[in-house]
Each structure stands twice: as C-alpha cells, then as structure tokens.
Symmetry: D2
Subunit: 341 residues, 4 copies
C-alpha cells in the first residue's frame, strides 16, 4: 500500500487533533510538524512518532518526501501558506476560513489551480453521518424539490473576548460552517442574505464589536428559502440540527447524545444532553474528512469540500456582515462555478 | 334519533365516571342510579340530571323504560346482578372482574345467553387508540405471525391494604386487564401460564396475603409466547406499554404524556412523565367503550368485549394464582369458543 | 348554575364547529344561529337543539336573553358586527382576523371598550397544551431570558385559489396565528418584521398575487429575535412546532400524532404522521377556548386572548406584507398597551 | 510506554476482529497469530504487521515475549487452552462461553487462579455505553432498589443449522450474553431460572434439537425478578434493549441507529432501523473491552469481566436448559463468590 506522507503546519488544538486522527488512517504517515514554538511539543511529537519537529514551515515545503500539508496556523497566515504550498507542489488541507478577505482567498485559490494540486477546506460537518443522510435524501429525491432549509447552530459556551477580536466575527468564525452546510444540503448557491444579530449572551462580545445571537435568512438560486439561527451559548450543550423541507416531505437531523438511555423518576423523565462541543459531536467526522482527503490525494479522485466551497462560504459571511450593518438584504453575485456534488 | 335509556347500579368512583362519560354520548340518556347509600348523592344526581335516585336496584330492573344497566357495584354482587338483569331483559355493561369465581361467572353468563341480552365487560383498554393500532397491525399482517408479546403494566401507587384484601389479589384485580389485553392483541387463547411474584413495594400487601410485583409468562394456542410484568408502584406514573413481535417486524406502544414538550437545560433534558393513572390515561377509552356499547345495543351489532372475554381473563388469572402457589406452569383447558375479533 | 346564552352569527365550517364544542360546555346554551342562507341548516339546527334559526343577525342582537355572540361570518363583516354587538351590550367572540384594516379594527375595538363588553379573538392555538406549557416555561423562568423564538407552521394542503383571493394573503390568513403565538410565547411586543416569501407550491397562488412559502424574522421589544417558517403544503400533515431558546435552556414543542405506536419492519421504522389539520390537532384547544370565554363572561374574569391581541397580530401581518413588498425590514410603532399575560 | 505483547489463538471472524481493534490500542502489540489453517491468512497477517503466523498455538505459549493470549478458537478447545496458557504464565482473554461444561470451566479457572494470571471473558456488551449508563444508574441509587429487570435480545437472522448444532444451543450460545448482562446490571446473583422456548423462526433449528424463540424468567438473590426475551430473527435488525425498574424509577436503554435523521413524507414518518448486528452495534464495545484488558494487565488492576462471570453465565444457561426440558423452575446453588462490581 502506497502511503501519503504529511506535514502539519501549526500544532495548536486543531493541528494536534488532526495528528491524532491521521494516525488512525493506515494510508497516512505524519512525518513533520512545524510551529512557531516547539519547546513544549517535544514529548508530544515523540509520543506521536513525528520524525521532524521544526519552527520553520519551509522545512516541510522543501521536503520532497512530503506529499501534502495541513494548514492549521492562524487564519491570517492561510492565504500565503496556500500559495507557497501550491508552488511547492504539495496537496493542501486548509482549516476554515481560508482568509478574512475574499480577494486574498481568490488569489490563493488561483495559485492552487495553476499548480494543479488538490485543496480541501476543513468543513468537517460535511462528513457527519446525520447531515450526509439528509443531503442524500435531497439528492435522491426523497423529499422532492427543497423549499425551506433550517439550520440551528449554537455553541455551548462563548469564546473569550480575545479570541472574538481576532476571529473575524460570528459570521466568519462560526456561521461560516452553517453557510457551507446550507450550500452542501441544498445543492444550490446562495443568492441573497439578510442578517439580524444582537448581543444577548455576553456584553463584552458586543464591546468587542461582535454579536453573539443571530438569525440569517438565505435565498437560493433554485428559489428555496433558508434560515440559520446562532447563539454563542446554549447551556445544554452543542446544538446542531438541520432540516430540509421539500414538496415530497421533510428530513430532520437531531442532536447526538452520549447514550440513548431514558430515566424516569418521580421528578421527571430525562435523557442525555447533546454532546458537549465539536470535539465530541464531530469525532468521527474529523477522522472521515482526513481519510477522504488522503484517499483523494492517493487515488486522484474528487475532493468533497473544495477551495471554491471555502470561497463561497466566505462570500456569504461577508454579505451577512454587510446586511447586518446596513439593515438590508445583500445580493451575491452569480458565479459560473457550481456547487460540487 | 332513538336513545338508549340507562340505569346505573353502584355510584362509586367508576359508576360516577361512567355517568359523566355517558352524558357526552348523544345516543344515551341516563335515567336512574341506584346505590346502597344515596344521601350524599342528591346534589350530584341533580347536577347530572338523573331522574331517579334509589337505594333499590330492583327499581331499575323493574322500569320498562330502561334498556340497559351498568353494573358498577362491588365484584361480589356482579354475578347475581347479571342474572337478575338478564332475567329482566336488560342489556348489561359489567365492570371487571365479573366475579371471583369462574363457576359463578359461567352461571351468570349462561343466564345472559338464555335471555338473549347483550353483555359488555369493562376492559376499557381495548378502546385505547395505541393498543387498537397495535392490534390492527397484527390483524392486517404488518408484523406477520406473532412470536412474542410483551406487556408492561405498572400502577403509580399501591392501593391501601383494605382494598387489597377485598380485591381478589393482584392477578384478579390488576393483571386481569393485561390478560385480556394479551388475548385481544394476540387474537389467540392462552393455553399455559407461569407466574412469579413477590413483595417488594409494601410489606403490608404481603401480610395481607398478596404480592405487588410479578412476571407472568404465557403460551398461546398459536404457539407464541408472552410476558407481562407488573408492579403496584411506578413512582414516575402509570406505565402502560405493549409490544408484539412477529416474523415481519415489531409494533410497540409507548406511554402517553400530557404534552410533547422537551426542555433542555444545563442540568438535563426532560419530557413529561407518563399520564398519572387510569383516569388520565384512558379518558377517551372510557368514553369510547360506553359509546360502542350504546351503539351495539341500539343497532344490534357485535359487542367488542364480551362476557366470554371476561370469563377467559378470569380463568387466566385463576391459573396464574395457582402457578404462583405451586411454583409450576398451569395449563388452561382448551375451549371451543373463540376469541371475538 | 347560571348559564351563558349564545347566538352564533355565521354557520359555515367554523361556526358549526363552535356549536358542537359549545354543546360540550355545561355552562353554555346555544339558543340562536343566523346565516345568510338557512334552508340547508334546518335539520342540523334541530339536531343541535338550536331554538332560533334566522337569516337576520339582528334577531340575535335584539334578543335580550342572549348574553354573547360568536362572529363566524366572513372577515369583511367582522368590524361592523363587533360594533353592533357591542352597542347591543353583547359579549363577543370573534374569529380571526378581526378585519383586513388595522384602522377598522381599531374603530371596532374602541366601540367594544366604550360598551364595556368582553371580546375574545379566536386564536385557538393559545389553548393548545403543548404551547401553553412552553409559555409557562418562559414565564416561570425555566429557560431564562428568551433569546430566540422559532415557529414552524405549515398547512397540509393549500386552499383553493378563490379562497386565497379573499383571504387577505398568507400573512393575514395563516401567519397571523403565528404572529399571535410569537407574542404569546415571548411575552413581549414585536418591534420589527422582515419578510421573505415566494411561490413554490402552486403557481396559481402566485398568479392570485399571493405567496405560499415564507420566512419571517422578528425583533422583540425585549431584544430577542424570532423566526417563522410557513408553507401552504406539507405533504406529511399539519406541521406545528415551536421552540423558545433562552439563557437557561430551550423548550421545544413537537407535533401531535394519532398514536405513539412505533412499527419496525424489514423496510423501515415508522411512527404516525402529524395529525392532519387544525380540526384534528386543535380539537381540545377549540373546546377550551370557548369554555374559557364562557367562564370569563359568567364570572367576569380576564379574557385570555383580547381584542388588542387581535389588533397587534394584524399590525404585524401588515408590516410583514410591507416588508415583503419593499424588501426591507419594517418597524412597528411602540404601543403603550401591553401584552396580556 | 511499556507495551503488552499479544498472541492470538484462532483467526476466525472474531479473532480477526480483535486483531483490528487491538491495533487501535497504542499500548498493545499483536506479535503472533496461530490457527489450524494459515495458508489463506498470509497476506492478511502481512497487512496487519503480524510477525509470527503459525499453525501451532504452542509457539505462542512458548514465546517468552508474549504477555497474554486471546483464545478465539472453537469453544470445545477453550478449557484446555486456558489451562495451558495459565501454566505458561500468560494472561488470558477468552471468548464466551468458556466451555459447554460447568465442570470443565471450573477446572480451567482453578488453574488460572493457581497460576495467578488474569483472565477476561469476552462479554463485550458490558462495555456498551448505554448498558454501562444503566448499570451506573442502579449503582448510584438513581432508580433505587431494583425490582424488575427486562432484557430484549434478538438477532437479525438465524445462524445456519450447522452452526446451531455445534453452538451448545440458544441459551449457551446467545442468551449467555443476556445472562451475563442480567448479573452485570442487577449486581446480584441469579438464584432461580424458568425457561420457555419454542421453534417459530426456522423448523430446521427445531430438527437440530434447539429452539429459536424464548422467554426466560429470573429470580435474583436480592429478591428482584427479571425476564429475557430472545428471538433468532428480528427482520428489522439487531434488537438489544434493557430496562431496570426500581422503587425510585426506571432506566431504559434503546437500540442504536446509524443516524438520528427522521424523514416525513406523504406515506409515513421513518427513522433508521437498529444497527444490523453485533459488529455494527458493539463496534466501540469491542475496542473498549480489549483496551481495558490491556490496561488491567499492564497496570495490574481488576478485570471487569472475570472467569467467575463466565462461569456464572454458564451455570444459568445450564439451568435454563434444564428448566426448558423439565418444564419447571430450576434453583441455582448459592455461591460464596460475589458479583464483581
């Protein structure tokens, strides 16, 4: 079996998570990791059998043995790293968002296209079995032509304000997953966005110029409507539900829970809360996304979640922010590129 | 519209419940009520527009205007009242059990047959929409040939010990409903009973010679097996579930709850407890059983729950008691009569 | 027991439904019914024990024995009938919407106030046990301060186009119930509406100048956001769900089903579809609303669903229509009156 | 990190499953595999990085580097292999049942005790998160003193008749898992068994002297009752549910499904069927049992599922068979050993 040799750029929480998951995939070998600070990573790297631990990501790009890189560094570094990796002929797995600037993202993706390497964006939710099933029910016609999409997406607790300040804002940091999910489930592009947002969870988030509660209405190219509701704090856990309603029926995905045990006592009847956060809820999806990336690189097949998908999600996030600021719906330019199915 | 004129014998809890429900049925007029003590019933009878309130049930039997009687007096009086009512040419609705003696019941039913009047036994659960649907799924072949029947039947709180002493015991008082449900759902007679019981809820029940917790295994004429589990105290409410498993699938009826609201908080995710007891759970079933009785009398159609059904449930209860005492399975005699469908 | 004597104006579907339900309430006597055409109603009126059947509603208003009237005639007649009934000193139960004109409604309600009679608007859903429980969970603080309201409201099949033409449009005819539910659950006034709508179910509805699919975003005076999604056709039945999410948790009401039976076969695992339409889903709510109206009239207590509630729902419907036409959010004037709790 | 070096005896379906799972546990190295026929296993062993592939299990027992063996060969070989492995000082993981003879099992376990090695029996269901939670709810007192235990355990399809003939019969092959689960959940020994069984699925099973449908009633040392229902064929999938009912409430574990998506169409409302069979349902439990075994060996901690647990399950299976044959309840001898918690 031929293996895919990888380098990881950025060993923060998500970078280390990917290393753990990549080690479960027999087709993959994680050879190298770079980070701006590596002293605290020595024993970790040893345990994970990483051969090369370096402060310079160029060591990875210059290593001819490395087939692909995972870009897990801060968002502001993504676009340049994509360009350099593409130039070095490496396949790319890049965390979301690609950048905070649609133009930067476009430039970076142009380099990827020129280089002919593959790029996958880290929209892990596309690999969740519940959402995959909902999408398949749309695609196979079970629910007919889609009319209404609903996504509920609420975090269990707000990030700290420092994170909020550098996050690009709720739409770019959090809702961007939902914008991608909307396109993924609907199989059609978003053509108009109307956003409403407010600060109800944490005043400090408002003082940092962001919102923590939002409802965003979408219009799709196929004529359907959609709505996303977001909150930075659902005290009962990570609330991740979707529904697509069409002329033949409706498909709803509920939250996952640790067990399906129901307990009845004199006080009440209870079941488990939703799984706490993305690490618990999307455990398998994180494994599946890197497995599919490896497969696409090794077998030269289509990427499920492309650079164009990353770009479109950013465009919608940008439009949502503009709608929030102007109080008006914002049109998105039609694009000749299509949703990858 | 021709109306059915009724007399009620016994104005205890169940008798008064029937009066309330009968008043919702346009085809019915409740003319008379008898009870051994009537002083405390005067204002009640007036409010319910009862014309005749008497201490002598014979006043009802002798009233030519009365078409049918409801026997809601203590069990020990049922058999004689049935005989007298039959002799008087009245249709009969009799609460369960018909009597504590299979022979007495047989004698009483023989009089009913001779008189050619109708008799319905108060197995109200046959009229519950959930159980009706399960039965229909058996009858229409959806689940195929039945292999296993499961009934869970647990009361929310034990009766007081005085009641227990005069109740005929758990099997005759409480499980008798489940024995009837078993025949009703399975559409086949019980041919063997094995009972296991114990005292876990209230030692006073044990001292009164009864049990409060039981598991009863049934064999049916069609070869299927069944199991009933009983408790006198489910602290979370009235637990009434059934399942029939067959070679094409399984059908399960769950408990009913006051609302379907689900509440998620930081502590837990809760839904409503099961409805508290039989008055709440079987509200509509109690209305439907008397409506069907009226219809059967007025239109001379088949009774859903016959005297034979009452007799068979008693026979099974008797066998269960014997099995509990002997520690061995007890066979039931085959009968040429059939389950009414 | 003192009884409330009623006259019914308009004996169409909803008028006759009310007669059936009113007959279940012991405190009520339905004496008279008026309709523009009564020939076909003779046997119905006899069966329902209606004393007076007339083509002239003034016969009801002039009858000193009549305490209250039910206005069940076409919407365009409501405002004048309210004024006349108020002038005649009758309490009023009026179907929704009060009128198609906020000004007309305001005028009619002013007459009601002057006359000092009671008026209740037929927002039957306020009496549904599921929604009542959700509201109580908001009011008792279980879910904390509300942040997001979600209402899904979809009919099982579209009305015919003739009805659509005279209905006042989706927002005034159908969503008006949801606008009322939004205020009822949130306990706070709507201050801004943004509506998106389209024609996806039936082109004839579009040709009649209406829409059949909509998403409406609401802002409340308490700072919360809300969203309603509507469709004129959910092929699986009447889809009526609500959720209120707050800083202490979330409360969700699901659809009601005829039974809770679950069937597992080799093909799939199924449960009952949602109850078909409003007559099935809101059976008990229709009974409860007239019972509460009778109680309020007889005991001079507060009406649960007032004329002001009817007026506010119309104002929101009007604003939604304007938002749909202009493509912009529409502000609602603050009002000194308060949501009745 | 010190690793546990393993040898696998028997590379049939379950042996190869364990190899796959063991490779996911970083603390484990699978060095050797023995099987009576190895020609077809060469490429598999290479892919799985097995160093030694042999037809002689003694090669494993004689290898000083090997710390523990997995006994995955046919049941009739287990007892001798346990004795030999114990004599060789190897820790032992043995598939269920230990043997078809209680005496043989006792002898084998005596050798294990003498040798002071650890033994774990492959009751994988003890590691299922649903059942673990139910057990914890019993142990922490949430449901109070247990009164009634219910286990539903049905396979999706019957084994072929050749397997049936060598399986030891339904109770020893299939119900043995449920007997273990009963002890595990109840935390108390079984003192009496009453078994009822029949052939409803496949006449060939009956001709082979076995049954395919059963209901088994249990009495526990703590006074509680229990019931297990079994079928060799549930056409909708692997049906694995448990409930424990106590004086403070009840805890129910439902089946697992591939997704939680609910689909509503004009025909019906569906959700996923139960996961197909044990490989799907207990995927994680199989991983967790070997992980815990490795941990217990490496850190010298208690085994969750001991040889005594294997022995007790066999004793109950034996008693169930005897009850089926005699038609009477069978008592189990009290034992001074206790349920391991």
């Amino acid at each position: 079996m031929s293996k895919l040799t990888l380098g990881i750029i950025g060993a923060g929480r998500i970078g280390r998570l990917h290393v753990d998951n990549l080690r479960l995939v027999p087709e993959i070998r994680v050879k190298s990791v770079s980070d701006v600070a590596i002293d605290h990573l020595q024993s970790w790297a040893e345990e994970k059998q990483i051969d090369v631990l370096t402060t310079d990501y160029k060591d990875l790009l210059n290593d001819p043995e490395i087939d692909a890189v995972f870009i897990c560094s801060p968002t502001t570094t993504h676009a340049n790293l994509i360009k350099e990796a593409a130039a070095a002929g490496k396949h790319i797995f890049c965390e979301k968002p690609v950048s905070f600037s649609v133009e930067e993202t476009e430039e970076a993706l142009a380099e990827v296209e020129k280089a002919g390497v593959k790029i996958q964006i880290g929209f892990n939710r596309r690999f969740d079995p519940n959402f995959r099933k909902v999408r398949s029910l749309v695609q196979d016609g079970t629910i007919g032509n889609p009319h209404i999409l609903k996504i509920t997406s609420r975090d269990p607790e707000p990030p700290n304000v420092d994170y909020v300040k550098s996050s690009g804002g709720l739409f770019m940091d959090m809702t961007i997953h939902d914008f991608d999910m909307a396109r993924y489930l609907m199989g059609s592009e978003v053509v108009e966005v109307s956003a409403h947002g407010t600060v109800l969870v944490d005043q400090a988030i408002g003082e940092a110029g962001d919102i923590d509660t939002a409802i965003i209405t979408l219009k799709f190219e196929n004529g359907a409507l959609g709505v996303i509701d977001n909150s930075r704090q659902a005290v009962y856990g990570y609330d991740q539900r979707v529904e697509i309603f069409g002329d033949n029926g409706t498909a709803q995905a509920d939250n996952n829970r640790a067990t399906n045990v129901e307990v009845s006592t004199a006080e009440n009847v209870t079941k488990d809360k939703p799984l706490y956060f993305f690490l618990e809820r999307y455990t398998q999806a994180y494994i599946d996304e890197v497995t599919e990336f490896a497969k696409a690189c090794l077998e030269n097949t289509e990427i499920t979640c492309t650079g164009f998908d990353g770009l479109q999600a950013e465009r919608i996030a940008k439009a949502a922010k503009q709608s929030l600021e102007t109080g008006k719906p914002v049109q998105l330019a039609r694009t000749s590129q299509r949703v990858v199915n």
